[in-house]
């Protein structure tokens, strides 16, 4: 009997090989990009708008996000990977924007979008925007990615550039801060307990 014959083949061997095999990467073509853009642009814009509080800035950063995304020549592995990648790109651009202006707290106070809604009838929208604007940019990103995008702690850590272990604590603090703001403003929603 040869040495090869002594090696027992696990029934999972084939499955394991198939699982760990890299998914072949396909470069993104125009049609794929268009489909991806139509699916994600709205979500990215909402995220950037809620982060910056300014529609014009959100428009600008949305375009920059997709330019940067295309420049990186993304390969299609799966949609979740791309979605995570583009949110990470958007987060970096938003943080860069805050660093450039260095007035992010002040910039949130009198943005055109908020001013419009102040004059308009949507008081709730205005109040919600103001309450969210009281948070730090990182807290806004954390809460949005966790509660709206349903990102995992690992994905959030990667997107905002912190350690995965820190995300849980940071999220807890961000929630507490937002809860305090909402209570102070009388915006806290009723939670039904089972």
């Amino acid at each position: 009997m040869t040495a090869d014959g002594l090696i027992l083949q696990s029934p999972f061997a084939l499955h394991r090989t198939a699982t760990f095999q890299r998914t072949p990467k396909r470069p993104m073509d125009e049609a794929k990009f268009e489909a991806f853009y139509r699916k994600t642009a709205g979500r990215i814009w909402s995220y950037i708008f809620r982060m910056t509080g300014n529609a014009a800035t959100a428009d600008d950063l949305l375009q920059k996000t997709f330019f940067r995304f295309l420049r990186s020549n993304p390969a299609i592995v799966h949609d979740d990977h791309l979605r995570h990648y583009i949110f990470k790109t958007a987060t970096n651009l938003v943080f860069d924007h805050f660093r450039e202006t260095k007035r992010h707290r002040e910039a949130m106070v009198d943005t055109p979008a908020i001013a419009e809604s102040r004059a308009g009838r949507d008081e709730l929208r205005h109040d919600m925007m103001r309450a969210f604007a009281e948070l730090k940019p990182q807290e806004r990103a954390l809460l949005w990615l966790a509660h709206v995008e349903g990102s995992s702690h690992e994905e959030i850590a990667d997107a905002i550039g912190v350690k995965e272990k820190s995300v849980k604590v940071m999220l807890f603090r961000a929630r507490k801060r937002l809860a305090a703001i909402l209570t102070r403003r009388g915006l806290a929603p009723e939670v039904r307990h089972a």
């Binding site: 814009w45 949005w144 307990h193």
Partner: protein, 132 residues
């Protein structure tokens, strides 16, 4: 099923309500336009990358030519200044009267001068034509 933390539930509910607000008043840019613009930017970046070595060689050529001129002038500065002074009216009169020139410039110097001048002119033409 794990029990949801009340704070998490409260904030989660609020965030969902907040996310559901529709704030966008106009459409998004056309993806085809974004694609074309991104491709143009990529092409521009590729061109910049491709011409970077040429630019480096050009800068090196400027430095070498400048160093050549500096070396040539330093090497024969005394002879050159004497030669230039010989163009003064008094020196011209003296020379015409038969006085010997103080110094003379070698053939090597003139050859080096010619070579350097040629390279300088070529470099100048290259710069002008490349920019056009």
């Amino acid at each position: 099923m794990p029990e949801l933390d009340p704070l998490e539930a409260q904030i989660g509910a609020w965030m969902q309500q907040f996310a559901a607000l529709d704030d966008r008043k106009h459409g998004f840019p056309d993806p085809s336009a974004l694609w074309v613009k991104a491709k143009l930017l990529q092409t521009q970046a590729a061109m910049d990358r491709a011409t970077r070595p040429i630019t480096r060689v050009q800068i090196a050529a400027y430095v070498i030519v400048a160093a050549g001129w500096a070396a040539l002038l330093t090497w024969k500065w005394s002879a050159l200044s004497a030669w230039l002074n010989s163009f003064t009216p008094s020196r011209i009169i003296l020379d015409a009267a038969g006085a010997q020139a103080a110094t003379s410039l070698s053939m090597t110097f003139f050859m080096a001068l010619f070579a350097l001048a040629s390279v300088t002119v070529m470099l100048a033409f290259h710069t002008i034509l490349a920019e056009e």
